[in-house]
Symmetry: D2
Subunit: 182 residues, 4 copies
Amino acid sequence: MLHSEVSDEIVHEAKRRVLEGMGLIVLHSGHYSKLFKALMGTTCSLNWRESTDKERVWTVAPGHPVAAGLPPHFEIPMEEMYGEPFGIPEPEELVFISWFTGGEVFRSGAAWKRGNGRVFYFRPGHETYPTYHQPEVQRVISNAVHWARPTVRIPDTCPNMPPLEPLPPDPEAAERPTIGHR
Amino acid sequence: MLHSEVSDEIVHEAKRRVLEGMGLIVLHSGHYSKLFKALMGTTCSLNWRESTDKERVWTVAPGHPVAAGLPPHFEIPMEEMYGEPFGIPEPEELVFISWFTGGEVFRSGAAWKRGNGRVFYFRPGHETYPTYHQPEVQRVISNAVHWARPTVRIPDTCPNMPPLEPLPPDPEAAERPTIGHR
Amino acid sequence: MLHSEVSDEIVHEAKRRVLEGMGLIVLHSGHYSKLFKALMGTTCSLNWRESTDKERVWTVAPGHPVAAGLPPHFEIPMEEMYGEPFGIPEPEELVFISWFTGGEVFRSGAAWKRGNGRVFYFRPGHETYPTYHQPEVQRVISNAVHWARPTVRIPDTCPNMPPLEPLPPDPEAAERPTIGHR
Amino acid sequence: MLHSEVSDEIVHEAKRRVLEGMGLIVLHSGHYSKLFKALMGTTCSLNWRESTDKERVWTVAPGHPVAAGLPPHFEIPMEEMYGEPFGIPEPEELVFISWFTGGEVFRSGAAWKRGNGRVFYFRPGHETYPTYHQPEVQRVISNAVHWARPTVRIPDTCPNMPPLEPLPPDPEAAERPTIGHR
């Protein structure tokens, strides 16, 4: 299914659920999914090449839960290359950076909170290579799912609130808006 | 003009320009503009009240360019209250926090980079009060415009890139995609 | 015990353990402890007043684990006031902001990673008031202890590393340093 | 001069000046200077190798002032290798990432605010190579000096503050501390 074939309604609904507290794990070419772009607010563009590159993934935040049990670095024998600049907001936590044979680097594992939900992007995973059969890759995904699991579900509201402390008298109170926020 | 009356095309185009490097200053109820919400990726919701609150704006980052020349705190004699939680991504730089008579607090001045552009949100400014005539408020806006001024304009691309270092031979090269990124 | 009476050796050792992965919860006047200042790298100064202020703590990140089970806001009937500006690095996650009767605000709950450990600062707790008997305060501290619990212990190293990919020949190899990093 | 030969008094004084608003540019092995470690609060350790590596520096934040006029990537023909993990706090702005022939990556350009000052770390510069004669390296350093230039000088204080709003009566006022903060 092409990204463009995902309906805006589904994207809107999924985004709402993430902001309420549901986690989201975005893999590989999901960087260009409507949902990830809508949560990031940026282009999410990058450089790419499908060839014979090897990828070496470096753990830059060894204490992060998504890196639990991972070695200082691991290799994926053949992978599509993604290179910087990657059009994302500054990661709140950068966990992995990749090295590619062809001379490029990439922020391969990055975490953000959006609303009450957690978002993790993980780069590897091109469909023509056996990347997802590799234990290190499986471990990252499994860790990320655990890390991003929902702990709250808080619906969106934008309420008119009465004061918690006494206010000066308000002669115009009757004319002021109390419902809706423009 | 209501936020909902701004066409999606204009929002898309303005967002593109911000990401290319144009700055954006968002004031008061602009928190609910389509453009700000699209750049933040979150609800941008808050609590609010139109009454007789006084607002006291505290400078929490006195060394930030947007706070240049501002005192440690200043008061706006009457203002619409905006209260936490404010549905934004973690500010990259938090410059102002407001205190309200009714007992609320709010992250009133916050900065983010999005793509190559800079975004500053500043809370004060309700249309029924003379907020924008106050020198401190004018100073913040003027500082923010200066801080967010464009220094680059970089169009979005997502190119297929040849390697910079020699790669192993690729017998399948002829069959690999070289244009488009899904 | 005064902060100044804590020996530099103990501070150094405790800091080392935090960076290896041990969490740290800093309460109230611990903002001026040698350990917190050494981990933050900043002054950690603030404005303060011991009087009859009420403190209202607002949850600004309701989805954060340290805010689990907490209401949107809670009050501490009498507390020492701490006011902005607070001389800390930008919090990686800002969880609570306080409102004080006297007109001040404060970033009362803030989280950072330092090395492989997690640090949480929580403002309330003056020794002449029964703050620590309040269930909300106990809940925050309990949540923070859970959130900051160690998951790794990684000793500091700065090793000389052999290459993972072939390098060009190095005629001067014999003369190059292989131990110590200046 | 060895890092260990710099006196603690000079480090303390220089740190104070940075926090007051003076900028700081840290180059190459300055990662292990007492001053940089004191401002970061972390180990600042890394992996390293002095051999025949080439370094390719990638600009990951092309809109950042420190990257002004720089190409998407540039090469340093021979350089000491620094590899991840680099023991720093999460950069507030990550501007450059390096690729090395031997298979490593490194966060080569990173920015933080500390107090009222700005700190930029830039990796290249080993003394046995002509790195500082390269125009791109000179451009980065020149940009960084401009970016980090002081705009304020704010001395450290931790004052007892009178309230800005009326407080309830305080029968114990005479016994409360008004000077010093422990």
